[in-house]
Amino acid sequence: MTDIWINMGPQHPMTHGLFNLRIRVDGETIVDADPILGYLHRGVEKLCERRDYTQIIPLMDRLCYVSSLTWSHAYCLAAEEMMGIEIPERAKYLRVIALELQRVASHLMWLAAFGPDVGLITALLYAMREREYFLDMLQLMSGARMNQNYPRIGGVRNDIPPEFPHKCLKVLDYFDGKRKLYRRLLDDSAIFMMRTEGVGYLSKEDAMNLGVTGQTLRGSNCPIDLRTHDPYEVYDELDWEVQVAKEGDCYSRYTVRTNEMWESCKIIRGALKKMPKGPIRVKPPKRPKGQAFRRTEDSRGEALIYIIGEGGESPYRLKVRSPVFANMRAVPVILKGHTIADLLVIMGTIDVCIGETDK
């Protein structure tokens, strides 16, 4: 068979979102790949130049609908840096709890998408079931299930209801109880290991040079988690560990992601225990001037928001660094030499979210 180009997308079960991965195949082996992005481009950066600082927060939520809170938080963090304000201690803890709940929910959504990728539709239903409980907790916290609009420049929107800690711990206990299920269903399954082990190898040097971040980088034996590397909020005060795997294949990325969920549960428990009382919000200055950037560990990698204010109602320029956009550069490198069936597993472990990629 001669080489043929196949369009995997924009409407294809492999693409979790709207993008087109053109692959050139020789038989079943991928020779070349070219991701074509932009089907979901909404011009977020341009929209930000027309909106005032408060109205950008719900807009940032919509960058990634699976992990929306991390994005609005990244924006708030950058804006606070630019305005030079320090938020109260309790707000920091609240943010950490919300962020970690969101991270677990996002990872569960990834697991739900990854299951069908390797052909296990049952995992989708199980992961979605667990995710509902975490969305419940986010709803209890902020009032909305998906686009929470919870962080504010200078704090958070509202305090948690009094029954929150109790209910949250209940959910975490429930989730811990399900750990065995996932281990049996995925980690202990020989076919799952066959599909993921040794597939999609990315070396540490390549990963760093390609600008890959997040779980993909940590799966390649590079223990960079911005929560400890460039600490924000109160992550350095809590007791948890950065998850790393050495091999750089799909199974490493899978283990990093799943272990991060349990680590996040640990962070939430610690934060609930240590959370002080006090105010949750300070007043941000109006019409700030200056420029700042902050990077945070998004659910998928390094999110960097670079914001320039020129003393107006709205920022002069706001730039979003999307982790998946950068990771997408590594896709052709990883894919080379693999088969079409491996493509799914590789794209699955990279955890594509087109909302943030196309901005």
Binding site: Q55, T122, L181, D187
Partner: protein, 237 residues
């Protein structure tokens, strides 16, 4: 390629372990599946959570002062202010409404079709008139049915005198350009403006300048917007 020593799934991993996992779930699901029959059944735990949900809005007409702040902070411009006629017991509307048409107040209506339920309206409301209910079943067959008028969103609670300036801005006067037209004092929803004679003279009479009572100003910016000579600017407290 780096081949590390990993825990091998072994013979059990071929089918037994996954089958065990799913078997347990099947057994627990046989009697009580996780899913519910949505319109007929509901889960108690979820129902408890719904009281914190940011669903459809309701506006407490007795608390609302018609300041239009909600429509100003709304990211999607889905709030429109409507003039409605009300009874005597309503909190006083702004002076301009009182002068021209008796008992006419401004109350917000919401186009749910554009609303993104961000909650900015209830957050910035100076009197807490905006309330979120847990109603989420708002889908309809036509777009017109999604436009809720002020009357449809009306509830009547307790009136309040408490005002909070959540915008954290106050108007500031440039006396040089003020022409003393009194429009700001008329339009102010909280009546925090009184007109006092200023320094500048016109036809041997002092021009009346606005004086602000910042303790009850809510920073809505109506005065700055309405000013014909642009002599009012909103400044941070």
């Amino acid at each position: 390629m780096a081949k590390a020593k990993r825990r091998s799934p072994g013979v059990k991993g071929w089918v037994i372990q996954p089958l065990r996992a799913t078997f347990r779930e099947t057994m627990s699901a046989l009697l009580k599946p996780e899913t519910i029959l949505y319109p007929y059944e509901s889960k108690e735990e979820r129902d408890e959570l719904r009281k914190y949900f940011r669903g459809q809005h309701r506006i407490d007409w007795l608390k609302c002062i018609g300041c239009q702040l909600c429509s100003r902070v709304c990211p999607n411009d889905c709030i429109t202010m409507e003039k409605v006629k009300v009874g005597e017991d309503y909190q006083e509307p702004s002076r301009s409404e009182m002068d021209e048409k008796k008992n006419v107040v401004l109350r917000p209506g919401v186009n749910i079709g554009r609303c993104l339920f961000c909650g900015n309206c209830s957050e910035y409301c100076p009197t807490g008139a905006w309330v979120h209910t847990s109603v989420v079943e708002l889908a309809d067959f036509s777009r017109d049915a999604l436009v809720f008028t002020a009357e449809q969103l009306k509830i009547e609670g307790k009136p309040t005198k408490e005002l909070k300036n959540r915008i954290e801005e106050n108007p500031k006067l440039d006396e040089e350009t003020c022409i003393g037209c009194k429009r700001c004092a008329r339009e102010c929803p909280t009546r925090c403006i009184v007109m006092i004679p200023g320094k500048k003279m016109r036809k041997d009479k002092p021009i009346e300048n606005p004086k602000f009572d910042y303790s009850i100003c809510i920073g809505c910016g109506t005065c700055a917007e309405i000013c014909p000579s642009d002599s009012l600017t909103m400044e941070e407290i």
